[in-house]
Symmetry: C2
Subunit: 358 residues, 2 copies
Amino acid sequence: GVTKKILVIPGDGIGQEVTAWGRKVLETIAENYKHTFTFHEGIMGHVAIEATGDPLPDETLEKARRSDAILFGAIGHAKYDNDPTLKVRPEQGLLKIRKELGLYANLRPIKLFDDLLHASSIKPEILQGADILFFRELTGDVYFGEKQRSEDRNSASDLMIYHKYEVERIARKAYDAARTRRKKLCSVDKANVLEASRLWREVVQEIAKEYPDVETEHMFIDNAAMQLIRDPKRFDVVVTGNLFGDILTDEASQIAGSMGMLASASVGDAIGFYEPIHGSAHDITGKGIANPLASILSAALLLDISFGLKEESQRVIRAVDATLRQGYRTMDIANKHTPNEFLLGTDAMGAKVLENLN
Amino acid sequence: GVTKKILVIPGDGIGQEVTAWGRKVLETIAENYKHTFTFHEGIMGHVAIEATGDPLPDETLEKARRSDAILFGAIGHAKYDNDPTLKVRPEQGLLKIRKELGLYANLRPIKLFDDLLHASSIKPEILQGADILFFRELTGDVYFGEKQRSEDRNSASDLMIYHKYEVERIARKAYDAARTRRKKLCSVDKANVLEASRLWREVVQEIAKEYPDVETEHMFIDNAAMQLIRDPKRFDVVVTGNLFGDILTDEASQIAGSMGMLASASVGDAIGFYEPIHGSAHDITGKGIANPLASILSAALLLDISFGLKEESQRVIRAVDATLRQGYRTMDIANKHTPNEFLLGTDAMGAKVLENLN
Ligand SMILES: CC(C)[C@H](C(=O)O)[C@@H](O)C(=O)O
Ligand SMILES: CC(C)[C@H](C(=O)O)[C@@H](O)C(=O)O
């Protein structure tokens, strides 16, 4: 067995509730496969601001650097959403850790579990067979460009900026992945309006020449937002910038039935960082009804990508699949028209997956 | 009857094919209701670059200023999409005319015609009853902020910027509309990351106080892109910035069955500008299969908003409705599972609407 150190950062809101299950799944896998995983916990986001005044305390960042992988929950709190004038904000913690750890590539696989074919708002015949892997650039774009507020506070700006090397490295990662899949890559930008997008498109066109075996398509973001719903099967690998990736992958959650099903992996220079796509969901926090599967599937990605434990990773995915096949559903993936479904809360659902792991 | 001057700018690609039908509908209405509409034509986009080197020749802009309303088609050409280094680009014409005419509010109504309930990729039970009016800010944001390319051409940027007055005026227009509808307004931004969005949210919160009878909700763009597909009925009026509006409204076309069904009105300081939401669609240009209904419905918006001719506008919408009820479909709204549908090209479809106007 392998010996690894995992940092768990539950974060805010339902992050606390669901990440507990991602961790339990990792513990169970370690036990079953005779690996030694040691766990540490760190704080980030609103909880960290409350405790230390800082959304990403140095201590958490230090722990992160000394870990082999990080399992993260969610970030954000209604207090800040309702008051845009607050200077210190939970999300700054997440943005800073992404930047500090060089996590420039955010992988978001979108795939429907068979048993959820009817949970989506999209027609089953449109969804069946859809299988998309998003590469969202994660440490550039308007997220990290200079932010300004005029002195009279009457205007505000963010710089949308991309550097050639940033586009190159994410494009290469996306092309490499496309090679192992259906050999199709769609790059999404807004090159008909934005200069940053024109640079993006130029660079992707350059990198494309290194991958003549992969079919490249360029699409404008507005069109992509439409095509994703109209015909998700036309996509294989999608590569795009930070902002467009944020929007498209949330939208794509409807292809997988629910946001509560989607995991993501952020990788780059060294360590890997794993988190559900969903947010802190303050409207349902503390109710015990959040779907733990996105955190559990984030743990599966961690096993595969950071530890190279493919069999263990597949074992987790099969346990999730089995749980769904047995008819267990959290609220977000329930479908009142389907008979033989059992509605469970977060903990009961997590426990079913653990049972199916054994 | 009224006497009005209309400028028709077919633009590029299928713009040429579909705008002819928007114009014919206006001519027929003038005849039937004894109005005097005089028509002028102007060039813009790729066709204008080819003819004059300028995507918006002064002559077209002058004609625009001397008109009572403008009916526009579409803009863009594959040549520029494939070569992001070209300096003079068709879209610059559209952006410039929006700015010059002060068209800061782009209204995009999203409503499904009953007979198209099954044409969408979204389930009919999710769609039925959805009725959304988007207010997209149209002359600010990252579209118009300063664009830069570094000297070594290795980095590129666009400034995302909003001024308080820009947010105020679009917010007021959206709130005024919400008052005449279901009294719900959703403002979409990314205030958890972007400073321009935090200004946006602050200003909308201020304006909200003037409209205590309207229920206000603030939503992040990623969540909005998801909710729009998950539960479109939760939205009434949506107000958002230029870029987010571009993305969300294209996505929302799936609620109306097809992009080929959606019209938009751009208004502001003076004159109104009407155009389909769809683009120039170079893949189907010249094939005679484009859907003319978005242009025809743009003409209906023109009659209503610029000329105050409500009855005439309704008459056009009823003619479109009747045409669909008779089973006539262009390719984009055809559904092979529905019996009694007749597939028509652009001109045959346009002619059916004209018949139904008489
Ligand atoms: C919480 C927020 C800063 C974050 C983002 O926009 O990147 C989230 O939406 C995500 O997708 O991870
Ligand atoms: C053609 C393009 C510049 C335009 C835009 O992005 O505004 C179009 O997509 C639209 O929505 O009107």
